[in-house]
């Protein structure tokens, strides 16, 4: 499917927001799902890149993604201009299980892990508590426009103390979370593994959106394998990207 870039703007150095329009009436995604996206730039880079859907702007037939420039693919994406088109395949993967809003819901984001959690917060009637952690100021404030727009109660944490609390998203989560809470998280694997350990210790239920390199995004290449707790391989694009923390073999990532 072709989508038109409505806006592609740098938020803070390396972090971009891209709004895509004319998504078509049958585009009906849910929080936690992602798209494979690619510009018309020939064969290098070759593969589309997986990016989570950050906002569903259904009324306008738009979606928004927020991304960080990591390498060649995201750099090319960042150079694209409003009015140009991109190829989109999606929505793909399994969404976050709908939160039981009678429980306290905590969202834990490691920097660029925030986008799918913003989508989840946007779908909830009661504001959850969002904890966003990163190395330094820019790694947490890039998403503050969305947070303000959706009026999400947020704790900012930075490792160098340049913005919000000093510490990490996980140390902050540990201070707030209780055994009956429901936790949703997305961020580096290291952070997710720590949350898995914490959940075992404290007993809270946790669902994480997991990242692995992808080629197809639709379950045909079998490239995005991750080891399930039961010893078999599951595939992030088809069986995930959202997993219950108890599903993953965190010791053998």
């Amino acid at each position: 499917m072709k989508a038109t870039i409505k806006e592609n703007r740098e938020l803070v150095p390396r972090y971009f927001t891209m709004t895509l329009s004319e998504m078509g009436d049958d585009f009906r995604g849910e929080p936690g799902q992602f798209v494979m996206i690619r510009g018309d730039w020939g064969s290098d880079p070759l593969l589309a890149r997986p990016l989570s859907i950050c906002r569903f702007l259904h009324e306008d037939g738009q979606i928004r993604i927020v991304y960080r420039v990591m390498g060649r693919g995201t750099r090319r994406l960042s150079e694209m201009k409003a009015g140009q088109t991109v190829d989109i395949n999606g929505p793909l993967g399994n969404p976050f299980p709908r939160p039981d809003e009678s429980r306290r819901v905590l969202l834990t984001a490691g920097a660029i892990g925030a986008p799918p959690l913003i989508a989840l917060a946007g779908s909830m009637a009661v504001s959850p508590l969002l904890i966003i952690g990163g190395r330094t100021r820019n790694d947490v404030v890039f998403i503050s426009d969305e947070i303000r727009e959706l009026d999400i109660e947020t704790i900012y944490v930075t490792e160098d103390g340049s913005y919000g609390q000093k510490g990490t998203a996980v140390t902050e989560l540990a201070r707030h979370v209780g055994g009956n809470d429901l936790v949703y998280a997305c961020g580096p694997n290291r952070m997710l593994a720590e949350i898995a350990r914490l959940s075992e210790e404290i007993g809270f239920e946790a669902h994480v959106s997991f990242e692995e390199r992808m080629a197809c995004g639709i379950g045909v290449c079998l490239g995005c394998a991750v080891r399930h707790a039961n010893g078999t391989y599951v595939h992030v694009c088809k069986d995930g990207p959202v997993f219950n923390v108890t599903d993953i073999d965190w010791d053998r990532l």
């Binding site: 070759l46 593969l47 379950g219 045909v220 290449c221 490239g223 394998a225 053998r252």
Partner: protein, 303 residues
Amino acid sequence: MKPDLSVEMFGLTFKNPVMGASGTVGYGIELAPYIDLGRIGAVVTKGISIEPRQGNAPPRLFETASGLLNSIGVQNIGAARFIAEVLPRLEKYDTRIIVNIYGESIQEYRQAAECFCGVEGVDALEVNLSCPNVDKGGLAFGTDPTLVQTVVREVKEASGKPIIAKLTPNVTDISPLARAARDGGADAVSLINTLMGMAVDIRSRGPFFGKVKAGLSGPAIKPVALRLVWEAARELDIPVIGVGGIMTGEDAVEFIMAGAGAVQVGTANFVDPAAMNAVVGGIETFMEENRIERLADIRGVIK
């Protein structure tokens, strides 16, 4: 007049020369939401072994300049489950079904082929000759003409199906291997499988893949694939199926001009799940624009 894209090979008619390459279309059914399977010539399943295989530990993918390195390790559900659970669903589509088989010894190839003996709905077997031979320290079967001939003869005898021998490009001269496949009774050969490559992680000062080596595919390998297809086609009187880096109808036409009877599309399916329909459309457009009535008029024009 509409150009005729149909192809005759080993007594079967294929509605066009475009097939989904093994390992890039799953078991075929996974692509049904994206393409009209009835508009492609054939689906080649991912490699199927007698017993299910878990595949390699991640990471399994690494993108290179216009290419892709993979180390999947032929993860599959095994022949029995494929026949019981997947084949009935795949058979509903109006396309030819070719099963790619994997073995690590002559015995394993034979047993895998036997599983498909008399199985209706399977039109042909494609034998992956890039498999490591455990009896020879993991050297690929496809590098030894005697082994190629033996494997092809065994699987043909065991299955009673037309056999496509899928050759490995990781050899110094393809000609003796192509001849060996023919002498073993192959009804066609397909090439190329992935080229062996590797990637280095300079931060950890180690190999990127657990198994160090990985298979390179995609547009980066197309010139090598074309050359090998041309060489094999000059050598053989059985059909040669061209594979390697085909992204468009024009790429496919290049292979046909180099002597290919049909083509397979692999990595392009990852970039665009509808790629094969576009390749069929591209061939058709090229033929119309150049007033080519049938593929035979351009096949092997490069002598």
